[in-house]
């Protein structure tokens, strides 16, 4: 990759995507067979580019017959989640199992607890409404970003309310059931097949803590956690992830109202954030990164601060259980 002082938007391009894909598959095979001593891979498929790429890399590493794709939609999943997951599995040639997690979530009180928390700041919120949490864009100014709930009634009326700290934590805690229930099912299939659970975070998500501890943050191996999102797209194209998946905007698919990852967590478009993260890692100044990303320097300065802030918050998410004595 280019040295920081020559940073351009092209800096993140892998020089030889085919070789990179081959190296990842080779390393994945070694880790799973030799270190983990498991005989294949379970991948949770979301219909997104990350999990689709991982399914392809696993098929390359172990052979498609030793990969199980688990499809885990729930009542609030986007309409195309299931179709796209099937498209990805078919393209990778891997077998799938469908686990609708709606009833498990209902039994855990996921929806009920979340809705009760939303109603503490938005009493109008009722059955049939759909909601999401958004974080105002960092591009807008020097205000603190505050989590806000946006809800839509069945008639299309839209309301917004700033969350209190308590409501925010309760909404997040309740929706985290989704990622944790999914991981529980992935491990069920992994245990029954003697497979490893292969995680799907990319570098941006891994570095910035955009995952649920013991939910999607849990896995036996994370083969693309070192790849910037831009590189994920490049590699996905290389290994044959269908265009319909590569062209879909990144979504959290966690809330009933459609929500981009930018709205929930990242606050700036991912390609620009990707470049800022790379620039920061390479020691480039905010001025250099700003020129490469096409952003004002003061925005990049805020993005740099935000990256560092999220890293501090992510330390807890990355921490294994700590022992008080060796």
């Amino acid at each position: 990759m280019a040295p920081a002082e020559q940073l351009t938007a092209e800096a993140l391009r892998l020089p030889d995507a085919a070789t990179t894909a081959g190296e990842i598959a080779e390393r994945l095979r070694e880790v799973v067979y030799k270190d983990l001593r498991r005989r294949g891979a379970v991948v949770g498929l979301s219909g997104g580019v990350d999990s689709s790429l991982v399914a392809h890399l696993c098929a390359k590493a172990f052979g498609p017959e030793r990969v199980l794709g688990v499809l885990m939609p729930e009542g609030e999943s986007a309409a195309d989640t299931l179709d796209l997951s099937n498209v990805a599995a078919e393209a990778a040639g891997v077998e799938t199992v469908l686990e609708d997690i709606t009833e498990l979530l209902r039994a855990a009180g996921c929806y009920e607890r979340r809705d009760a928390a939303i109603r503490t700041v938005m009493p109008e919120y009722a059955d049939g409404w759909r909601a999401k949490i958004v974080l105002p864009s960092l591009l807008g100014g020097s205000r603190y970003s505050l989590f806000t709930v946006v809800a839509e009634s069945p008639e299309g009326e839209r309301l917004e309310a700033r969350l209190t700290a308590t409501a925010y934590r309760e909404v997040v805690a309740a929706t985290n059931f989704k990622q944790r229930v999914r991981k529980m099912l992935e491990y069920y299939h992994a245990d029954r097949l003697d497979y490893a659970v292969v995680g799907t975070p990319n570098r941006l998500e891994y570095d910035q803590g955009f995952f649920v501890k013991n939910g999607d943050g849990s896995a036996d191996v994370k083969p693309i956690a070192h790849l910037y999102k831009t590189q994920v797209y490049q590699l996905a194209e290389e290994v044959g992830v269908p265009a319909v998946i590569r062209e879909r905007p990144p979504t959290t698919d966690t809330y009933a109202l459609e929500q981009s990852q930018e709205e929930f967590y990242f606050s700036v478009p991912f390609d620009k954030l990707d470049l800022c993260l790379y620039a920061l890692n390479e020691g480039a100044s905010a001025e250099v990164a700003a020129a490469a990303a096409g952003l004002p320097t003061e925005v990049v300065e805020r993005v740099y601060e935000d990256i560092e802030r999220k890293r501090r918050a992510a330390a807890y998410l990355h921490a294994p259980p700590l022992l008080l004595e060796p």
Binding site: Y144, L146, T164, A165
Partner: protein, 91 residues
């Protein structure tokens, strides 16, 4: 209307009671950035807003949620002083 000293003491106590780093013996100067020192994060800002609104019976608008109003003990003390003066004046 609380005096600036009283507000500062209450804010310090709130930080100490609610944020682990602050409770852990870290002594904050009046002008230390709470975000930079790592005492509060974005959820912590929500918590701070909640405390100010409830304790001083004022409403904080989104456009007032700025670092210059909330990022240090000195800023918060001044901001709360202005808000309580305004709400008393209006009342």
């Amino acid at each position: 209307m609380p005096s600036p000293d009283a507000i500062e003491q209450e804010v310090r106590q709130f930080l100490k009671d609610n944020f682990p780093l602050s409770a852990d013996g870290v002594v904050l100067d009046r002008d230390d950035s709470l975000i930079e020192v790592g005492v509060i994060d974005s959820t912590g800002v929500l918590e701070l807003i909640g405390f100010i609104e409830e304790r001083y019976e004022v409403q904080i608008a989104d456009e007032e949620v700025l670092p210059e109003n909330l990022d240090s003990i000195a800023c918060i003390t001044r901001f709360v002083g202005e808000k309580t003066a305004a709400s008393n004046g209006a009342g």
